[in-house]
Symmetry: C2
Subunit: 290 residues, 2 copies
């Protein structure tokens, strides 16, 4: 990867801001343009050094971009991608950071101009915090980034997208959009829903008696409501399927406890524990412990 000229980041929140910081810290691009809706966020992104130039106008923001990364809320991504493709130079690479992929890829592939320049991506990094004020130049280092190319994805853009996300420190995983959405429903969307359900289950007057298990089990319930309502709806089918699998696990636990079956409880727990141990030993282990 030679150094890129201008990268335009559309949506300068936690993810977009972190991309800008990483691009500049690693000298991946000579210039980072930030496109946002709110002047205050853009001002904060400039102040933090996440972007060099700010604009609220998407078309002018992408007009000289070599790479455009769309990091808005999932429900806005497809629209921004099409508008960016219409306004950017023909040589542009457009990618995104959306938590779901199927509906985004479908929207892009029905648009000739966008399809010719787009590679769908999802860097699996984030936080329950939102906003550029929590952006972190190291957010992507060692984290998985899923690319979901299809038969319609141009080979040269795919190569450039791989180089771009690797330059931010990601390790790459390539699967198709439907596989991505089914996988993330289980690995991310379900854990978010479970955290929120758990948070809401404990009455406020008992929180004084809660400790580490509640704290960690509910951390991501602090995430943004609009963002997560949108992700759940975008990935409704796979999330409902993941929820069903989780309900089956709870039903197994309930059955073992109702029958006061010590061996069933232990073996249920041991298989969960073994799965958890496998995760801890995985490729992100450094960022996973304890």
């Amino acid at each position: 990867l030679g150094r890129i000229g201008t990268v335009t980041v559309v949506g300068v929140g936690l993810i977009g801001g972190s991309i800008g910081l990483a691009l500049r810290a690693r000298s991946v691009a000579t210039r980072v343009v930030g496109v946002g809706r709110r002047e205050a966020s853009l001002a904060e992104a400039l102040r933090r050094g996440a972007i060099d130039v700010a604009t609220t106008d998407l078309a002018s923001g992408v007009s000289s971009a070599e790479v455009v990364v769309v990091c808005t809320a999932v429900t806005d991504i497809a629209d921004c991608l099409l508008r960016a493709a219409a306004a950017a130079p023909p040589g542009v690479l457009i990618t995104d950071a959306g938590s779901t992929k199927q509906t985004i890829v479908e929207a892009v592939e029905s648009d000739e101009r966008a399809r010719a320049v787009f590679v769908a991506a999802h860097p699996i990094a984030g936080s329950e915090r939102s906003g550029v004020e929590f952006a972190d130049q190291g957010l992507f280092v060692g984290r998985a980034c899923v690319l979901t190319p299809t038969e319609a994805t141009p080979a040269d853009r795919l190569e450039r997208a791989r180089a771009f996300w690797r330059a931010l420190g990601c390790r790459l995983i390539e699967i198709n959009p439907a596989e991505h959405d089914q996988a993330l429903a289980l690995t991310s969307h379900l854990p978010h829903a479970v955290a929120a359900a758990l948070a809401a289950t404990v009455p406020a007057e008992l929180l004084d008696l809660a400790a580490g298990a509640y704290r960690d089990g509910t951390r991501v319930a602090g995430s943004d409501a609009r963002l997560w309502a949108a992700i759940f709806r975008e990935n409704r089918g796979p999330v409902l399927d993941a929820l069903g699998r989780f309900e089956n696990q709870l039903a197994d636990f309930r059955a073992a406890l109702e029958s006061d079956d010590s061996e069933a409880l232990r073996s249920w727990w041991l298989s969960a524990r073994a799965r958890r141990a496998r995760f801890t030993a995985g490729p992100d282990a450094g960022s996973r412990d304890p």
Copy 2:
């Protein structure tokens, strides 16, 4: 609280070991005796300085104790309490660190000698790790310790128990044994069951796509299986009730998602988020963030 002579810790694992370390670091006691079943654990407790003297014989271990703290697995606590009461000097204070209280208190109160010296306690501190090798002298600092006195609890022993647990750094909460078990079913036992169910739901081949939400949501699934099977069984009714409340929350989420109701999803999320924010702002906030 004057300095205590001998404190005997029965069960020298993570909790018992941490109590020993704290007693010695804070000069609360002049001597800490450790009673255990396994020579290897006792040797490690001696090596780490968690105890001064080790024995596998409970009766001789408590024979000159001013205070006995029973920190074994919940299913063994009642038996150890009765045996300690039979062998310790009549002036002894006996307390425990069990995660459930009702069955333990009932067992003790049916025994005249034990009832006269016992105050039930539950320091709400722990880890998914077990064993004296993970013991920590600061484990109890600022953490809640629940005492569950009843009408049968002697006033002088209650005073001494308060002073003892405060000397380890705990802040005290006093409720009755049934209230304790119902509360902890929600604040601790349910979060453990949920963590294990979540851990088991995500297929091993997808763990590479899991990140922070899965990591934190499943951390306590790494806890000991025997210990947790015992806690669930000891507190079966309240845990099943807590599970029912959690299942209701999941059902609300499922209904909102099935009907693709953006407003319902958002308001469901927002009430969970508000509850979580209340926890973060609570008395343990320092040990709770993020």
